[in-house]
């Protein structure tokens, strides 16, 4: 690895629960990654713009409001429209198991549910990057 992994941690939608997003952001940073956190209430358009501008390797999104089926795929589609296909896209939050197959089909690479260890997220990112860095 020649440079640190760059990650955008994002909160799409109106949900204000950011404890998980912030814990993950810190854990990734402590694991040597460069982390940008968007703050609350980001539209899919804003997230995609930030991902491109910051040239990140990973977009990690968190939703606890139940809007994941709508907002996660929207981010994937917008990234694809902009021709971005080599960014690892992951999501987390209160996400019912039933919804996971749909989200994976929509192009989210992995979904992490409550109780996940930050170590597992770090491992997953390191092993599944789509770019050579």
């Amino acid at each position: 690895m020649n440079r640190p992994i760059r990650v955008l941690v994002a909160k799409p939608g109106l949900d204000g629960h950011d404890r998980g997003a912030k814990v993950i952001a810190r854990a990734l940073r402590d694991a040597g990654m460069e982390v940008i956190y968007t703050g609350l209430r980001q539209t899919p358009e804003q997230i995609v713009a930030a991902a491109i501008q910051e040239d990140v390797d990973v977009v990690a999104m968190s939703i606890l409001s139940g809007a994941h089926n709508h907002l996660f795929p929207k981010v994937v589609n917008l990234l694809r429209e902009k021709g971005v296909n080599d960014v690892l896209i992951i999501g987390g939050g209160v996400i019912p198991e039933d919804d996971i197959p749909f989200l994976l089909e929509s192009g989210i690479d992995a979904i992490f549910t409550p109780g996940t260890s930050t170590k597992d997220v770090i491992e997953y990112i390191k092993n599944n990057l789509k770019r050579n860095i």
Partner: protein, 559 residues
Amino acid sequence: MFDDKKIEEIKAATDRWEKETVSKVISKFPERKEKFVTNSNLEVKRLYTPEDIKDLDYESDLGYPGEYPYTRGVQPTMYRGKLWTMRQYAGFGTAEESNKRYKYLLEQGQTGLSVAFDLPTQIGYDSDHPLAEGEVGKVGVAIDSLKDMEVLFDGIPLDKVSTSMTINAPAAILLAMYIAVAEKQGVSKDKLRGTIQNDILKEYIARGTYIFPPQPSMRLITNIFEYCSKEVPHWNTISISGYHIREAGCTAVQEVAFTLANGIAYVEAAIKAGLDIDEFAPRLSFFFNAHNNLFEEVAKFRAARRLWAKIMKERFKAKDPKSMQLKFHTQTAGSTLTAQQPDNNIIRVTIQALAAVLGGTQSLHTNSRDEALALPTEESVRIALRTQQILAYESGVADTIDPLAGSYYVESLTNKIEEEALKYIQKIDELGGATKAIEKGYIQREIQDAAYKYQMEVESLDRIVVGVNKFQVEEEEKKEILKVDRTVEFSQKEKLAQLRKERNNDEVQRTLKVLKEKAETDENLMPYILDAVKAYATLGEICDVLREVFGEYQQSVIL
């Protein structure tokens, strides 16, 4: 409570016990951990004796229920007179669906309503706003106008129930809608009982549903204080909330400290606006979390009560005893619920609810076992309510007041929590008060540090979470969960289009114009908001007018 000589004797005897009895055992069987700590990292000793509370003065530090400093409770007879209000927070989908759930809960013996609004409502967007996409009806009920509110309370007599509404930035508008519905039912404002959360500071800190910047937000809050003191005298005008701050990851000590610091900021704002302390302070109420560490939680509630009483009396010179009484609602801790083996959550909730009752709460929401997965099903909500009823009617814990008083451990913890919380409050005072401390990111950073530390402790197994990092099982079949689909959003949009066609749009424009003009002055906005609401102006339209005048809050991202 003991004389010095007796304390000396006890101290000597305790030392002897450590040397003669304990040391022998410990050399062969070491204790489970080198150091035991509470959730707030307060060290827990092996044994507590009278020496640990040797300076406690019964009369001045504990006193009697219903009397200053209210350590033992705010009511003279507590649950012997009337049990706490069992109030389950509920709301999802459309007003029709939520109305049905409220009627179900009332039939099941619930004694008060607690309304959950969806995020667009909480942030002042109508259901047809682009930012509302995918969020309508998800975490609560969607309310766009007085029309929805009429449906929400259809068939529920507002002079008979007390209603708590978890609404903050647009609290004035939802309160106005509630008043308007009551009027249509023939219930006058002075008969209304309930609470609006109306606590914007903790939105900036932890919960995230802010709209306007701090200054105009504080103005709306003091407008409500003033209006209600005259027009809606039995309404609790604010619920100063530690709940969400704790959910964001802080400790019990920080929960007390940051909540009371916010309380101080509201009191100061109201005084600055020219209100008399004893006019509005009796209607201030609080909202705390109940976590798993039973004794620390009980001590937390007692410490908060005593500390607030002192602040009101000594710092703000309140005269009315009601101004000094910290009345509070409690909700069990959502963040302690696990998605793994969700039935275990019933037991967690029981312990937490017990803490709230032993701590003297005025009302209680018990979480449902499936809330780490989704909104709760009707069956799960019933078990949660039954948990409260079993505590109330079977356990006997409600039969005497403040039963843990006098416990060397609990009294010592109560003192310690008060002391540590006071240190934080002094620090916040030095930073210029809660609003300044939030703007500087101090409070947010303290919470984040605690949250991160907690997560690392769980991952290193210093902290055991049953079913998550120990005692795991292969999860069995999927549980039934409640889902809200997007049809709610589409039907809400249709209803809005209909409303915009049918209402008297000239009257809407007129009332909104007046509101805008008044927002630019120092006048109390409540009457003008009420006029707009009655003309069926939507929540989004009213908030837009205020956004134009007040601007919007920009979050400073702290990591």
